[in-house]
Amino acid sequence: MTSPASRILIIIPAYNEQSNIHNTLREIWALASLNLDVIVIDDGSTDATAQEARSSGARVISLPFNLGIGGAVQTGLQFACERGYDIAVQVDGDGQHYVSYLKAIITPVLNEQADMSIGSRFMPRQEKGYRSSFARRLGIGFFARLIGVLTGCHVYDPTSGFRAYNKKMIKLFARRYPHDFPEPEAIVLARKFGATIKELPVVMRRRQGGASSIRYFKSMYYMMKVTFAILLDMLKSRRLAVDYGD
């Protein structure tokens, strides 16, 4: 079992989230029972996201330009890897995730029951919160089935960004993490390396302010791009998957 004194890092990728970041951080600070470090990855925001996060007491890594969610999360994972954290948890900066579920997300990774845990909105018989639009739910269902067929691991909510990783996953993803819309691809990559994945029911809410980066035609692009990317990921060798970009 991972030691109770395990070092845990919360990674919050944020792009133009000045209106949400303060509340997200306030909720995390309120979890006094958990010994957590927090790092906000300001993904080249053009608003005052970084200043808001710093004034709320968070440590902030500011990227010189916008890399997208994948680049921002990977920066956090590289930081976690360099600083020797045992567990990294990804929490969106838009306020969609109830941080009260943090403990539930971390526990399976902490107890070595899983290499990676995912907070899911779509598990059977779970409490319903915000579950996205009908069209998006169809897309999420499609990815769940596709990933299930290709990897033999059924994940109900493959697009959820509420995740915890152990040291093995931190090391892997610090070297190789998908870009653009990375969550479903990251599951495929993790499975390719034999990772065990556990899903836990969580309730999410609508984003608290600002606008989602995936809208209208971008949703169609998302569907096609991620489908192709997942299929191509399956063709890559394990060695290439890690050596890529080196």
């Binding site: 890594i61 500011s62 890399l67 590289q78 360099e82 970009g245």
Partner: protein, 119 residues
Amino acid sequence: MGIKWLAFILSLSIFLFVIELVRRERLTFKYAAGWLMAAFLAVFFSVFHKCLFAIAKFCGFELPSNFIFFALLCAFVFLGLLLTVFLCQQNDRNDRMAKKIGILEFELRELRKKISRKD
């Protein structure tokens, strides 16, 4: 002026222009090598055009001009693909540098804080 002279002057001009770009350091030799090779082949075939006609005939082309257009098209498709690969490499390097800069800037900020606290 015959078409052969025109082809010769044009290909020689491209060859000399590429050399001039390398000399002025606007092109590095690594990326100029392909262009120099292409320009050299163009000069060669404009002088020894019978070689070009023989290759065209060997490849089954009725007219040598069709062969030239086909070869050029293939070369540009290949060049386009190579440029895309190069663009992806540069993009990946930029992304990695941006992440590194972000982390280094953060560490610098933390070090400055530590130093100012000591002072």
